[in-house]
């Protein structure tokens, strides 16, 4: 359940933003989560909602953009999408580090992201007299 630590770290960062910008209200936060990270999106949504209850962030929406994995092969210079293990029991296809071109071990170049991409906020304005 490391989603909780990640949600806590997210809320900490957003609370910092809210403290520094008391005239702004966060309405949406957009994350980028890589295909190679081991983060369950639904659990992250659940944790975020739970932590932000009764805080200035309550009601803000969490949007998650999935970042595809890309790999590079040091043996044959292949660059591109990884090979998937498709016939793995009943689960979803699994990313492997087997080079789709030469079969040796590749390294990832993209797909481990777990970052706040952008924040949408509205301005809280005093009523003009």
């Amino acid at each position: 359940m490391h989603e909780f630590s990640i949600a806590a770290s997210l809320v900490e960062k957003l609370s910092e933003f809210v403290r520094e910008n008391p005239d702004k209200r966060i309405c949406e936060v957009r994350l980028e989560i890589g295909e190679l990270s081991h983060i369950e999106h639904d659990q992250l949504h659940f944790c975020y909602e739970s932590i932000t209850k009764e805080t200035p962030l309550e009601g803000s929406s969490l949007k998650i953009d999935k970042v595809e994995a890309f790999v590079e092969c040091p043996h044959c210079s292949y660059r591109g999408r990884p090979k998937y293990w498709d016939d793995i029991l009943a689960g979803a296809p699994v990313v492997t580090f087997q080079c789709p071109s030469c079969g040796k071990t590749v390294g990832e170049t993209q797909g481990k992201e777990c970052a706040i991409k952008s924040v949408k906020f509205s301005q809280i304005q005093p009523v003009p007299s």
Partner: protein
Amino acid sequence: MANEGGIQATIEASPDEIYDIELEHSLLEANEKLAKENRALLDQHGTTAIDFMGAIGSGKTTLIAKLVEKLKDKMGVAVFNGDATTSNDADAIAKQNVPVVQIATINGCHLDANLVGKGLRKIDIDKVKLLFIENIGNLICPAEFPLGSKARVVVVSVTEGPWMVRKHPHMFLGAQLVVINKIDMAKAMEVSVEDLASDVHKLKPDIKVIPTSCKTGEGIEKVAAALLAV
């Protein structure tokens, strides 16, 4: 209406008044930064740290105990035992008279770089050439949290059944060595060590896989040699 100063009310912005800012900020950055600091400290003292990951009961502690037994007279070794609640593992290793730090995560499902960093301040690092870090028995979360170790080892045992590797593929992608433990039980369990190794190689073709039995001692020497070569 009398204007008495101060904020009279707030007005919600309409959709066209919503602003967007780019805020590139990694949520795992704090741990990654501490992991790098741990690694720099270890390198500075010429210490190699190895992180052992695997399920509860896969034999991580026993394997580490066997490695300590084999190596402690040749070089300074120390052990960090991560465990949610008990000190059973730390107690077992401490009997061998090497420095042991028990890291209790209480409700945490993985060790993180901060806890390991605290552990590093508790030992005389100059006297330690090889540091074994035993992670929490969990096959998902530890993969997301580097600790600053030079290599990560996954320990699977045949008693976990034939599908262990394909059920937890992520753990293996980030590892540098895989140990298939309890091979003395393979026949009784009707689990093929070769099939488990073949699953590991489907995920990462070049990774070294060493079958071991802590009971008979088979493979322990090979694991020690592989760790000294990282």
